[in-house]
């Protein structure tokens, strides 16, 4: 019996869960809903584990496994199938998706208890997992697009989960529409691929592209540009990053799952999956790297100025995905996927921790109104600290160090890397340390400003995920050690069958140790500064904000570099204005005018029928005169 045949169960379990909850959810008791919602994901995770172990022990001969469920449609040979494709890349993704989702679902059973939309929440969450797994396992781009839009839909539905508040509805709409702009670029890219290759099968395209296009060919350029459009929309990168901070309107587990761990990294997956196209277009690949660096810096500075705990994490997510884009842009494909995985662990953890804090603080999001929670919420504090340390890439002990360090090294040492890219990433890493520990110190140290109303630490279902993810945030990095210390790189070795190894410049291996030392010092300095400014002498941070620079930059960073205001003026207002004018449809006035004209003519002529003989005679004589004059004189 081949275990691989059960691959279809990975999307099928969440789908079944969704269908059950959607059809019967309103009648089921809360306990049953929680069970269906969580167990469906748990089963998917177990199947993934089973398949994954089998894949590791006996890799399929071709290096991948393909399962065709049915042919979607077949028009003269253009025949996308509903088919799943499992290779190391998709395996890593479904592993992270199903396991992180399972823990977030478990957490939600307690977090969402008592909410009137309990069945709706789990239905949407299960639908999300189904869509995300479909996206990752799709063997053709059309099916991938199905998953792609499906996760977008779930994101929309869950951001606007508390639908009574119109602000949530606005945030949801914004997320859906902004990502749709990227998706439209994506789908135009698909049209181009259909025209060029008459197929959307990913492996066919990847194998044919190098034969059709030379390096730097216009076709490769346009396709990779259009696909990048989709990727920056979904992954909240410049210039479509504006929707993600507002997306925090949704329940916190949603932020953890969709807007941190999984969906927002779909863009990274897309580019990694289509890496051949980017290799064919070095210009676009450089653009990817530049977008990554600019995004990570802009979002990092924005995070530094936020007061809302979830918004700090949102900007941090944008910034961390910027690192993944940087890695993709310099051809460090495996490093990007590695950082995706580690980031999923620690960012999900941070959001879940934040959810616990916000629950304890009765929906208070402002970190400056919290404080001193270290003693009161020890489990939350220690796990949050582990996640923060991983985010800040504290050397040696955290997983984040291994993944981020690899990206920074490749940004410099890869043949496509450069000092500028490295420098951007390095500065970004320093900013990361500052905002991360600002968040930790302000929330958990100092004086307690608010009493804990409902202690989340009593909820086992919420604490287990925190502990598991906390452990993973520490040890997860050990599967890929730096070359400088050891030749232990099972992760990239595993991925090498589908993603090419990073091409390094000659003689750069020796830099790695020095770079690591530099990073280590930078992290320690950053933590010390944060400690100084927010624990030791809080006045320092205040003074800094009051300087001329501080007063100018703080609001600018706080508003996320004013991108919202810019787009509002440039796009939203003109569109709304355009729809306001001509609400009635000017074409209709033309026809209506024609109708009115006829009625008018009718009126004029009917007035000539007035019954007076003298009037008729006058008309006849006048007519005769005119005709004669025309004949005689013209």
């Amino acid at each position: 019996m081949d275990v691989m045949h059960f691959l279809w169960l990975v999307p099928a379990f969440p789908l079944a869960g969704f269908l059950l909850l959607a059809l019967l959810g309103l009648r089921l008791p809360a306990r049953a809903i929680a069970w269906i919602g969580t167990v469906s994901i748990g089963l998917a995770a177990l199947v993934t584990l089973w398949i994954g172990l089998d894949f590791l022990q006996q890799p399929p001969a071709a290096g991948h496994y393909r399962q065709v469920l049915w042919t979607w449609f077949n028009i003269n040979g253009f025949a996308p199938a509903i088919a799943l494709y499992l290779d190391p890349l998709s395996l890593v993704y479904i592993f992270v998706i199903t396991f992180v989702s399972f823990f977030i679902h478990l957490y939600s059973t307690a977090f969402m208890r008592g909410d009137e939309g309990y069945p709706r929440f789990f239905a949407y969450m299960n639908l999300f997992v189904f869509s995300m797994v479909t996206l990752v396992l799709a063997d053709n781009l059309l099916l991938l697009y199905l998953g792609w839009e499906g996760v977008g839909l779930c994101s929309f539905l869950l951001i606007g989960f508390w639908y009574r508040d119109e602000a949530n509805g606005y945030a949801a709409r914004k997320a859906f529409i902004v990502t749709r702009i990227g998706d439209t670029a994506f789908i135009i890219g698909l049209f181009l691929l259909v025209k060029q290759f008459h197929t959307l099968d990913i492996q066919d395209i990847l194998s044919q592209a190098p034969q059709v296009w030379a390096i730097g060919a216009a076709g490769a350029f346009w396709v990779s540009l259009l696909l990048l459009g989709g990727a920056v929309g979904k992954s909240a990168q410049l210039p479509l990053q504006t929707w993600l901070p507002d997306a925090m309107a949704g329940p916190t587990p949603v932020s953890a799952l969709i807007h941190a761990a999984t969906m927002v990294t779909a863009g990274v997956y897309l580019i990694a999956r289509m890496h051949v196209l980017y290799s064919l277009s070095p210009t676009m690949q450089l653009v990817v790297a530049i977008i990554g660096v600019l995004t990570l810096l802009i979002a990092g500075f924005s995070a530094l100025a936020q007061r809302d705990l979830k918004r700090i994490l949102a900007y941090s997510t944008i910034s961390q995905i910027g690192y993944m884009f940087l890695a993709l842009g310099v051809g460090a494909w495996t490093a990007a996927v590695f950082h995706f995985m580690i980031h999923a662990f620690f960012k999900a953890l941070l959001f879940l921790g934040a959810g616990a804090v916000i629950m304890a603080m009765e929906e208070e999001h402002d970190i400056f109104k919290m404080g001193g929670l270290r003693k009161k919420m020890p489990i939350t504090f220690w796990t949050f600290l582990a996640g923060s340390a991983a985010l800040a890439a504290v050397p040696i002990i955290t997983a984040g160090f291994y993944s981020k360090d690899l990206i920074l090294f490749d940004a410099l040492a890869s043949t496509q890397g450069s000092t500028w890219l490295w420098l951007g990433g390095f500065i970004g890493a320093f900013i990361t340390v500052l905002y991360t520990f600002r968040m930790v110190f302000v929330t958990f140290y100092g004086e307690q400003k608010k009493v804990i109303a409902h202690d989340p630490e009593r909820e086992t279902a919420m604490m287990i995920p925190l502990m598991v993810l906390g452990v993973l945030s520490i040890i997860g990095g050990w599967i890929e050690l730096p070359h400088a210390w050891a030749h232990f790189t099972p992760f990239s070795h595993f991925l090498e069958s589908c993603l090419p190894a990073t091409q390094l410049k000659a003689g750069v291996e020796s830099w790695e140790l020095w770079l690591q030392l530099l990073t280590a010092i930078m992290v320690i300095v950053g933590i010390y500064w944060s400690w100084l400014a927010y624990v030791k002498r809080p006045a320092l941070a205040y003074q800094l904000k009051q300087t001329a620079w501080g007063r100018a930059l703080y609001p600018f960073f706080y508003k996320g570099w004013m991108f919202d205001q810019l787009y509002d003026t440039l796009l939203v207002k003109p569109v709304v204005w355009l729809s306001r004018i001509d609400r009635h449809d000017f074409i209709d006035y033309i026809y209506e005018g024609f109708g009115q004209l006829n009625i008018g003519i009718n009126k004029v002529f009917s007035r000539t029928q007035n019954g007076y003989l003298r009037w008729y005679l006058l008309c006849v004589v006048g007519g005769v005169l005119i005709i004669f004059s025309l004949i005689l004189f013209v």
Partner: protein, 507 residues
């Protein structure tokens, strides 16, 4: 079998009028019986390749001296449209089962409804151009009465506007049909209105252009395409719900059907000359319709304009003259009929509950109608082209096909995907989300309503995941149309190619 289908509808209609107390049951029985008949003949064509050109063909003498006959024939495409018409018709009868707006003169209402369904069905069967014109006009009259008797407050103006637009444009088609009849008769000595006979008529390019223009005018008004859409918002919003669903869902599709079945095959060369202009009209329609939809404050008008926007995709698809796009157009005809009917039924249900369709009076309905909200969401998502639902496959194929020939226009049309999302979300968010405007306890969907909507939901998902059945059924038609897109052929030669392909499918 084809005449049976028509007879059942027309006789059933008369019975409804005569026995008003039983009219709902008679209508259900008549349309339901026809539906079973039609599906039983269509289903095999969706699974195996067809052996002949027609699945069913019937011919009776009508006016032999003029060369007009009652020639009815259906293939996988027309039968599909007939199934669709009967399905929406049946669901239309059910959704207005308890409708107070038609409680008066109910028997008479069902008489008109069944004759309307009969007219539309006839259009999809007629293979004689005079008969086609006859049915074309026949659909108009019951529709006119449905609007003017059971319509909203502005029904009089709406029905007259609708009548004038469609009647006038229909006249141009009649002139074109007669001209084609005479020209063909002069050339060959054989005076006939038969579709198969007239196919081979050779025409000078300018003449062919004028005749095509006559046909297209009728079709573009009925669809409607930009700038002939002015009758649409009034007619759609003022009709009773079942009428609106048939009007937006099926009557508009008769126009698309007419283009694919008659306009393109009869005048292949002229179509090439017209194509760029038509594509422009289609794309303008997509974007302008979306803009108008977004600006509306009345739910029914919003949906009406959204339908107009989607018709732009059909025009774009037909005149891009690409195989993928033809398949897309036919799928869009089916999927849009389902999704727009769903949306109009939704408006009807809301109207029965709050007595109006103004968006400002709605909001927060999810609290009282979670099930209806969930169902509404499916149709909203279909309207914005979410993958997994039929409309996505259709629009994807149309755009992917159009892209092969017209990159710039396709990119513009793709902006319609963004615009479509913007106005579609208004439906969901303004009606079901936001603050609760009024308490409506016990207003959630009723069992019969649920049955109707569930049928539509199942079909729209089926189309989204198994469109191959439709693709298979219409394959011969698409293959024929593909011949038209063979560029740069002299007129005569193109006709030959087309005639050959008709023959080859016969064998």
């Amino acid at each position: 079998m084809l005449t049976d289908i028509l007879t059942i509808l027309f006789v059933g209609g008369l019975l409804c009028w005569l026995i008003p107390g039983w009219s709902r049951w008679i209508a259900t029985l008549a349309v339901g019986l026809d539906l079973v008949l039609a599906i039983s003949r269509w289903w095999p064509s969706a699974h195996t390749a067809m052996t002949g050109k027609w699945i069913v063909e019937e011919q009776y003498a009508w006016m032999p001296s003029m060369g007009a006959s009652i020639h009815l024939a259906v293939d996988g495409f027309s039968l599909l449209m007939i199934v669709l018409t009967l399905l929406i018709g049946l669901l239309g009868v059910w959704i207005s089962w308890h409708d107070q707006a038609i409680a008066e003169k109910r028997g008479f209402f069902h008489f008109h409804l069944l004759w309307l369904i009969g007219g539309i069905t006839g259009v999809f069967m007629a293979m004689d151009l005079l008969l086609f014109y006859f049915f074309w006009e026949l659909m108009l009259i019951p529709m006119f009465f449905l609007i003017s008797i059971w319509g909203g407050e502005q029904r009089k103006k709406a029905s007259i506007k609708f009548f004038l637009f469609t009647q006038l444009s229909g006249l141009f088609m009649l002139i074109a049909i007669l001209a084609l009849y005479i020209l063909h008769g002069q050339q060959t000595g054989q005076y006939s209105f038969d579709y198969a006979v007239l196919l081979g008529t050779s025409l000078s390019p300018s003449l062919a252009g004028w005749l095509l223009a006559g046909f297209l005018l009728a079709f573009l008004v009925k669809l409607p395409a930009f700038p002939f859409h002015s009758w649409l918002p009034d007619a759609y919003t003022q009709s009773p719900i079942a009428g609106a669903a048939l009007l937006a869902g099926l009557m508009s599709k008769t126009a698309a059907y007419g283009m694919l079945r008659f306009a393109l095959p009869l005048f292949p060369q002229a179509v090439h000359a017209f194509a760029p202009w038509m594509i422009a009209l289609g794309v303008i329609g997509i974007l302008y319709g979306a803009k108008l939809a977004y600006a509306q404050t009345d739910l029914k008008r919003l949906i009406a304009f959204s339908s107009f926007s989607h018709m732009g995709f059909i025009v774009l698809g037909i005149f891009s003259l690409q195989e993928l796009a033809y398949d897309g157009v036919i799928l869009e005809m089916v999927a849009h009929a389902i999704s727009i009917s769903g949306l109009f039924f939704l408006v009807g249900m809301l109207r029965q509950r709050i007595q109006q369709t103004n968006l400002d009076a709605m909001g927060g309905f999810w609290e009282y109608m979670p099930r209806m909200g969930g169902i509404a969401m499916v149709f909203v998502l279909a309207s914005l082209g979410l993958p997994g639902l039929g409309n996505f496959i259709a629009e994807f194929l149309i755009l992917a096909g159009a892209y092969q020939a017209h990159v710039g226009w396709t990119v513009l049309a793709s902006l319609g995907l963004i615009a479509g999302m913007i106005y579609s979300l208004v439906i969901l968010q303004k009606v079901f989300h936001g603050k609760t405007r009024q308490a409506l306890p016990g207003a959630d969907i009723k069992p019969l309503e649920f049955l109707v909507m569930a049928c539509l939901v199942v079909v729209i998902f089926w189309l989204g995941f198994f469109p191959q059945r439709v693709v298979q059924a219409v394959d011969p038609v698409v293959k024929q149309l593909k011949q038209i897109s063979l560029q740069e052929l002299p007129a005569q030669q193109a006709h030959q190619v087309f005639a050959q392909s008709s023959i080859s499918t016969n064998i």
